[in-house]
């Protein structure tokens, strides 16, 4: 089975940005993730699909270190980070978004982004200087908001944004730390079809060097963004391959696409 088809030529020799080796997690008797082996090269765009409860979010939680894994390994750029805490993995260049929006609803768009940018700077724990005395952080925030076309709403409190805007801002916060790997957990969840198209354009417009691992139910978004798809079913990687191959796979149709 092709697990790593169509890598771009330049990344052929490089270390995988993210590698999972036999990763498993059980909650009591429930085996939510079973022996998942997976590689994401720098700049790769891959998607994970699978029915609800397949273990997709749990897999993200294992990758980011929210849960300890039951067995197996997580490697970032060849480094074994299985025992690392979540915030240390972030520092190696990994960012994620959540299936359920996790923003700071009472802060403005700008303040959300400032907090996100600070997250990986040593000065984040400084308590004797005002946040406003770091012009470089503001500059960077403005740049990010400019690119994401949020500048006109930078002083709006996040709770007043539409659901679609909040989902996009969720990704902007992920980008604030200049990640090399971006994990997206159903970015199009709850979006209208028009908003999904916007989201998928937004994702396609991101830096091509950024590796993206996408969990998504909206197959249009998946096919637009990802060149490679893996299917998770009852915690197991059932099949992986180029998008076209998965689209045609009889097994996948049966358990997943067939429901469409």
């Amino acid at each position: 089975m092709a697990t790593d088809a169509t890598p771009n030529a330049s990344s052929e020799s490089a270390l995988p940005a993210l590698e999972l080796k036999g990763l498993s997690k059980s909650f009591g008797g429930l085996h939510a993730v079973r022996g998942v082996t997976f590689k994401l090269m720098p700049g790769d765009r891959k998607a994970i699909i699978g029915p609800n409860g397949a273990g997709k979010t749990t897999l993200f939680n294992l990758i980011t270190g929210i849960f300890p894994s039951s067995s197996g390994q997580v490697l970032l750029y060849g480094r074994d980070v299985t025992a690392w805490s979540s915030h240390r993995r972030t520092a190696l260049g990994m960012a994620r978004t959540f299936q359920v929006t996790h923003l700071f609803p009472k802060l403005t768009v700008l303040d959300n982004v400032l907090l996100a940018i600070k997250g990986l700077r040593p000065s984040k724990y400084v308590m004797w200087r005002f946040m406003s005395s770091y012009p470089d952080v503001y500059e960077k925030a403005h740049g990010l908001l400019e690119r994401a076309q949020f500048m006109d709403r930078k002083d709006t409190e996040v709770r007043f944004l539409s659901h679609g805007e909040q989902r996009q801002l969720e990704i902007v916060l992920g980008l604030a730390s200049d990640p090399k790997i971006l994990l997206l957990d159903e970015p199009a969840a709850g979006l209208s079809s028009g908003e999904s198209v916007e989201m998928s354009e937004f994702l396609q417009g991101l830096d091509p060097k950024l590796a993206i691992l996408l969990i998504e139910h909206d197959m249009d978004v998946v096919f637009d963004v990802a060149s490679n798809i893996s299917v998770l079913h009852f915690g197991e990687m059932l099949e992986s391959g180029p998008a076209e191959q998965i689209r045609q796979s009889a097994k996948v149709r049966e358990i997943y696409l067939g429901t469409e």
């Binding site: 979540s86 923003l103 990986l120 400084v126 004797w128």
Partner: protein, 332 residues
Amino acid sequence: MKPELNGRNVALAMAFAALVSLPFWVSGTYYINVSSQILFYAIFALGLNVLVGYGGLVSLGHAGLFGIAAYATGYFLQAGFPHSAAILLALVVGIASTAVFAFLALRATGIGFIMITLALGQIIWGLAYRWISLTGGDNGITLHGRPAPFGLDLGSASAFYYTTFIIFLIAVVACAILAGSPFGAAIKGTRDQPRRMNALGYHVWAIRFWACLLSGLLTCVAGILFVYYNQFISPQTAALTASAEVLLMVIAGGPATLLGPIVGAALVVIVKNVVSGYIERWNFLLGAIFVAIVILMPEGLVPGTVRLWRGGLRAFRRRRGIVLAQSAEPKP
């Protein structure tokens, strides 16, 4: 940056002037003493506010920490240490105890955190009663005189008031800077969205631990001022009711604001000291005030008043706007 001449700054400047000149326009040492009490309880409330307001972690054991610092001061003075050494040692003991408290309580958040701090506070209170060789038990510890730094005797009410006022000012400025600092933003972030903070690269536990220590530092400073003010410390200081009282100051005044805890402290101290002279059931009155605040201004007195004030201004402008528009209309 030039200070702006707006309503808020004018009010702050007036409050500052009033506090500086207080011993001159307040009649009698009694009210000067009440003012000193307000100020050190305000420091205590500001300390708890760091945890409750900014950190979203409600502690019901802060009187325990307050008591530890107060007892430590008394104990070291009794043991023959000079004031400076006793104060320093009390701070060290207080911060160390806070670290232990934080370490135990931060296994949980929410209700779990409240219950652990409550239990720890009760343990301190119990020790204050039972560990008689250290605390004097029911009899407490009596201090013999206040310090006289740089030849300035703090025995008089106004000298003690000014000392407390200076420390209070330092605490307020420190809190203002903290609230606007990257760390302040981080504490509030862990209150609102800990998982996101974690994913952004923040060490949530460490942030909360530091918030506890900062809160403990202000609490201990207040505890030391308290014991010098009363020149006496007994187990009651560390009781659960004392923890509840300071929490009430924060919640009634407005958590996560700078002014709120100060206003809350003033309210509680005034009702307790001044009103209790006229009304026997002052506890009942305090309860009633608290209930009224919770119903009318659930966000606290300071933010609530600001909201009403802004609402009033807006209504006023709107009405004036209508009047102006009407008078501008051409008369037929």
